[in-house]
């Protein structure tokens, strides 16, 4: 009697446990994983003048089942230098922006971690606050600053330092500035989290043993904050590769980036199969950084 009661309790508990796991798992399978399978499927289909604008993959007619796997979209991407240039442009721009973010963000996070305890929360909020306002509006701010009749040019011409306005808008420079500005908080946050966890006694031990400051920094602080460097860099690099808004608003014809090309293929040319193939290749390109970030992040999530 007692035993059967316990087994029903246990069974009910197991059932409840499974239901609790299923809720997020099913949601993510349906709205995160399945969509990627569909991108792969559409990337292998033929473009068509229809709604939606692509042909079927499987067809049954005259007692024959035909499966069409059209690799043409991928071959087209390789044959057209526009796409190759756009991928290269994206990776190059994202890499430069990540390096600049790291060079500015690391000292910032370091100073925050060393600040008196009562200042730290305020500094953290100050760094994060811009990212809570509006991404679009923060990029827009630079349009008024960098344009030919913008703030910087007006200032320099007013001081008589230059005669004709410097061309800064619609250049690679503007795009990098925009990405650094928009993503800097995401670099500082993980760096700060790692640097505050740093055990001060290790630094004291190093200095007691006669290590110079720079030496201690390179041999102790830097390796111990490596996790933060990786997380911060991936949080900047991966979204920056696919960035659309910044190259659209601040970039020009010479700053080709893949996110913008994908957007145009989809919304202007209505070529869904090519847009899907572009997305698949981008995903392949980002696979290593994403897996790297994921392994680091899931370690943080589970431990």
């Amino acid at each position: 009697m007692m035993l059967s009661h316990v087994t029903t309790m246990l069974r009910r508990w197991q059932l409840g446990r499974r239901a609790v796991v299923a809720f997020p798992l099913v949601w993510l399978l349906l709205f995160f994983l399945l969509p990627f399978a569909l991108v792969l499927k559409i990337s292998l289909s033929q473009g068509a003048v229809a709604i939606p604008p692509y042909g079927p993959l499987v067809e049954y007619a005259d007692q024959t089942l035909s499966i069409f796997l059209n690799l043409g979209n991928y071959l087209f991407l390789l044959s057209d230098s526009l796409y190759v240039a756009a991928y290269w442009g994206s990776v190059k721009t994202a890499f430069m922006s990540t390096v600049v973010c790291l060079l500015i963000g690391y000292p910032m996070a370091y100073a925050m971690a060393r600040a008196p305890a009562r200042w730290q929360l305020l500094l953290l909020l100050l760094v994060m606050l811009p990212s809570w306002t509006s991404f679009l509006i923060r990029v827009y701010a630079w349009m008024g600053i960098l344009s030919n009749s913008g703030l910087i040019n007006n200032l320099l011409m007013g001081l008589g330092l230059i005669e004709t306005p410097l061309r800064m808008m619609n250049t690679q420079f503007a795009v990098v500035i925009g990405i650094v500005y928009a993503y800097l908080p995401f670099m500082v946050l993980p760096l700060y989290a790692h640097l505050t966890r740093l055990d001060n006694s290790l630094l004291e031990a190093a200095s007691d043993l006669g290590s110079r400051k720079l030496n201690t920094f390179i041999k102790v602080t830097l390796p111990l904050s490596l996790g933060g460097i990786i997380a911060g860099s991936m949080l900047v690099f991966i979204p920056a590769v696919g960035e659309f808004v910044i190259p659209e608003l601040l970039g020009g014809p010479d700053t080709l980036m893949i996110g913008k090309v994908l957007w145009e293929e989809f919304f202007l040319n209505r070529d869904w199969p090519i847009a899907s193939a572009l997305a698949m290749v981008m995903l392949l390109l980002l696979l290593i950084p994403i897996v790297w970030f994921h392994r680091y992040q899931s370690r943080e999530l589970e431990v």
Partner: protein, 279 residues
């Protein structure tokens, strides 16, 4: 206390420069929202005309309302989904599908928006073909898309809190005969409530801010605020957008200040009660 002024540390100088870099462009936006000239870069005198123009713009006002509604429901659903995911990841030990779940929970954090947007649109189109739903894309499809990527952020915030939290309190409750569900609602939830609130606010701002994913999955009916702002700014700078930016910056700053004030006060209280306990 030494009276000799120390040379400021290199990193302190960089922190100040970095903060100036973050705040000067926003200050410029605010200043020029009070400019009477249509030209955003030439100062022509103080005026609040762009604010009244903003409040007469029906398109912007209705987009604000649409965005707020979507953000409210997306953040609420994301908190449910993200909290359950975080709880399962940190408290359930090993179970089937754990690797799949952990990969999918954090992946949206770094997924380029154009890929997420495109993939979800293709899903909605296929679903409409197979099941007839969603017949029209709009607020409901944006809600699903936002819930999915926001829940990743909630999961990270809540999981961080759950890891800090000593699970022995929950175990004690269960040892005393409290069923797991009751333990979760009456023991775990009250302790992690601040993390839930932080996750909700983060999800709310992320949803309000999203342009790319919403553009892909939206239909003709639903225009969110970023979509309206984007179609305006790609034509060039406009003082009305500066006025809108000022209001957004003001709201976020005020909310952040209040959060900081209350966090400081509760911290001070905690310190005081610790002192009293010790005495």
């Amino acid at each position: 206390m030494s009276l000799v002024r120390r040379r400021p540390h290199f990193s302190t100088v960089m922190l100040i420069i970095g903060l100036l870099f973050l705040y000067l462009p926003m200050a410029v936006l605010v200043v020029y929202s009070f400019n009477s000239s249509r030209l955003v870069t030439v100062w022509a005198g103080f005026s609040t005309q762009w604010y009244s123009a903003l409040f007469r713009d029906q398109q912007i006002l209705s987009a604000v309302w649409t965005s707020l509604k979507i953000a409210f429901f997306a953040a609420s659903m994301a908190v449910c989904l993200g909290t359950v995911a975080a709880f399962v990841m940190t408290r359930f030990g090993h179970f089937r599908g754990k690797t799949a779940l952990s990969s999918m929970v954090t992946a949206p954090l770094v997924m380029p928006e154009v890929i997420t947007g495109l993939s979800l649109l293709l899903l909605f189109v296929q679903m409409a073909q197979l099941t007839g739903w969603p017949a029209d894309r709009g607020a409901s499809t944006i809600w699903i898309a936002h819930t999915t990527f926001c829940s990743a952020y909630v999961a990270v915030v809540v999981a961080a809190r759950l890891r800090e939290l000593d699970s022995s309190i929950e175990e004690a409750a269960m040892d005393l005969g409290s069923p797991p569900l009751k333990t979760f609602f009456f023991v775990t939830l009250p302790i992690i409530a601040p993390a839930l609130a932080a996750g909700w606010l983060l999800a709310f701002t992320l949803s309000l801010d999203d342009l790319v994913i919403a553009s892909f999955v939206s239909g003709p009916g639903a225009n969110t605020l970023p979509m309206v702002v984007f179609s305006s700014v790609r034509l060039g700078v406009s003082p009305k957008i500066n006025a809108l930016a000022t209001l957004i910056i003001l709201t976020v700053s005020l909310a952040t200040f209040l959060a900081w004030y209350f966090m400081r006060r509760s911290e001070a209280k905690r310190q005081q009660s610790l002192k009293q306990d010790a005495a």
